[in-house]
Symmetry: C3
Subunit: 335 residues, 3 copies
């Protein structure tokens, strides 16, 4: 299994989006179209959520090789609100299973008429590997892949910024923390680089910076003050304890003082700068409770947009696969 990101294989022969494996290689028009469609699914808090029948008669399988209840529920609700049947499969880590076995599971579910596989895995390579092998009418949706890619997260981050600050072309966006191991940072970068962004900064200790070949065009800031200065958007990344050790940061308290997003450190950014976090948060570590819950925070809006974005992506890739279905016999006894 190589770490093929799937960039070259997420379109069908006609160039239409069939899988969503990565935001790499998507055009500005494709991303804008997905964001516009997601915006149509957004409702205000307290309103009934949007629903339509885009996936009526379809079956979506959530295969999470890395557990994540909140992301699973977001995909489950997105598919259900489009009328799909949803099955959840909790899998052992794919690294403990031979690739061939995972493929047998996929083939089995495909034979049961699963139309979309939503995959999450701590190892790289699985989404593109599966996409190479499924039948032409089946789609793969990457719900988080190692440190590499989390495309619906990148889209929901772009949508949230667009809703709050409008066009991204002049904005300064600072992503703070363990960028090196972050699929969230990579997908945000891919979305914003394609949409156009004033300045994209990656901020964190040198040990947690990505390799030089990555994030080309982004500005690297090893010091928080530098990273936040004048920023319109500040995105804190979840930090794991073992990564602090890599960065020779002794404890959470020190991390918070050096790279934490707090009401204090936010004063370095542009007044009213947007505060974002992909969740789940380590409050008091990479972000303070006050910053997370304050008026600048867009964190719950990100979550709400997550469902809308996943609905838009599902409707887009499945609309496509519908065209592949032999029309004569479809729906023979289908209600």
């Amino acid at each position: 299994m190589t770490t093929d990101t799937g960039r070259e294989r997420q379109r069908d022969a006609a160039g239409q989006l069939r899988h969503l494996l990565t935001l790499e290689g998507l055009t500005r028009e494709e991303i804008v179209r997905l964001l516009d469609q997601a915006q149509g699914y957004v409702r205000r808090p307290g309103e009934l959520p949007a629903r339509d029948a885009s996936l009526a008669g379809r079956t979506v399988a959530n295969l999470f090789f890395e557990p994540s209840t909140r992301t699973r529920v977001s995909f489950e609700l997105a598919a259900g609100r489009l009328g799909a049947d949803v099955v959840n499969l909790e899998m052992l880590s794919s690294s403990r299973i031979k690739g061939e076995s995972v493929l047998d599971t996929i083939y089995t579910l495909q034979a049961m008429a699963v139309d979309v596989f939503v995959l999450r895995d701590a190892e790289p390579g699985l989404p593109a590997y599966i996409a190479r092998h499924v039948a032409p009418h089946v789609s793969v949706l990457n719900a988080g892949e190692a440190h590499l890619s989390h495309p619906t997260q990148g889209l929901l981050d772009a949508l949230t910024i667009r809703q709050r600050l409008g066009d991204t072309a002049q904005l300064t966006v600072a992503v703070v923390g363990d960028v090196r191991h972050s699929r969230v940072a990579r997908s945000a970068w891919q979305a914003l680089a394609t949409l156009g962004v004033g300045e994209f900064r990656i901020v964190g200790p040198p040990e947690l910076m990505p390799d030089d070949g990555e994030f080309r065009g982004a500005r690297r800031c090893p010091i928080l003050a530098q990273g936040l200065e004048g920023a319109d958007v500040v995105m804190a990344l979840r930090i794991q304890r073992e990564r602090m050790a890599e960065a020779r940061i002794p404890d959470a308290h020190t991390y918070c003082r050096e790279f934490g997003i707090t009401t204090e450190s936010l004063k370095l950014a542009r007044p009213g700068a947007l505060v974002m976090h992909p969740g789940p948060m380590n409050r008091g570590v990479e972000i303070s409770g006050e910053a997370a819950d304050g008026p600048q925070s867009a964190i719950q809006q990100q979550v709400a947009n997550g469902v809308a974005v996943r609905m838009a992506v599902l409707a887009t890739i499945v609309r496509h696969s519908q065209a592949q279905t032999p029309p004569a016999t479809t729906g023979r006894t289908v209600g």
Copy 2:
């Protein structure tokens, strides 16, 4: 997190029931209205279950911090039969998570348009704590909280007694066993004290009696014969092995002899007295198989009523929250 029972906060500004956290403080009229509505959802065994669209377009999340498959399924079926989307989340014990983290999970699900949180927890305080923090259109339903409260159980017990014996005002009800640690006993007491009951007896070893300040007006019986004499309703409580030790009862056999509900001990009660148990039963300990399965047993009727009561409660608290929804934009593209 205090052990606020939520009594004061389960109504909205207009005094309507918005959450169901406890039966404490509910009026007789409110309880009767819920029982009447539940009765409307009752069907005979073998009939198709009642269904309506009270929760169409709504989303219910079951968050069980204390595992209970049967109660989870009861709530899942109740919500589904009202047309809701249901998501199940198995949680680690809330005592191992900081309150703030639980709240982040709640906020995340709320942002995904979850309308009702069904919560079960071995620790006290979570339902009221969550109810204090959710948005105005969101409801909390307590599905079992420590030793304190299990309001839908209290309602289903009252409904079962009413179905079998009519008005409760003249009845003698005996609750037998570990009353001290029982949320079932407390919620039954709250329901029946409010509806009116002839005599409410708590029966069990002194070590498992509640503190004096609790169950005011109930009669305390340390000896089974005394507790059962002339009783119209006999409710056995599940006993845990560690509680027997607290009560210096050496083993299950002895417990059964001293406090077990059996065809023998039932002879002490009124002929035909109703036998109840909240389940799951330890057969041969707090109740004999013969008593559980005999003609006086209402145990399966309790389970059936459980679904009906949960439907009534969901329809009541969500009907309320619907009024909170901004009407102009609701249902824009909602099917």
Copy 3:
């Protein structure tokens, strides 16, 4: 709990199929009718799956005492595509619970208006035991019982053979591997013996052959070449490592050489012979990847047929139970 296969108790007083516990004792007409009905639910790959409202308003509970995600999903999708509500319960092994406890769980779910119990268990006896105790309108569906019975697997195997090769009366069918411990082999034998088959061969090491009283009329072949010669259908069975030891086969490689279905060993069978496997496969052990994925393989067709067969069985046994429902009150407030 005896190992009653339930053969005598799966019909109601009128002789109609009410449970499906075993294929033993089913008539040829009953099996053909189920296969015909299943065929009506088959769709081509890429088509939308069949759907109807046979189980609208009904509730199906999947109780898997032995974990099997793929079989659970197959039943979950089958029931859902017929309009049923489905609840999944992961159970501890039934052997660790007293029979009485399992029955209490069943009675509880039955009181919640569960109409069908889909049961899987590593121990023998549970499906017939439960069938003896449920209410008259409730059905039990055996989804895999010890080494004894897996009736929907036997039906899907027969359907697959019929689709690919037509009438089974003249066919030679070879089942290869650990027949002794295989419910798949037993149910396939029961289906094909009843439908009529040219020759049924059981092939494997003597230690893994069933007792003489079983598979009466089947030909026993201790050597693969003998078993495969001229076979129209070759069904490989999953082999467990501990069974190889029983058969004094030192390792997987040796097993594959002696009893593995490979492009090499398939040359012994009739040209174009059908290759089948119940899944999940140990590739490189009882079957080679080339044989599993080659043009002769019907393995994915078996999986697809599994959903269709389960739909047919559910619609058959629940159609029956509907007639038991008191007609006057059914659907009073049912949408």
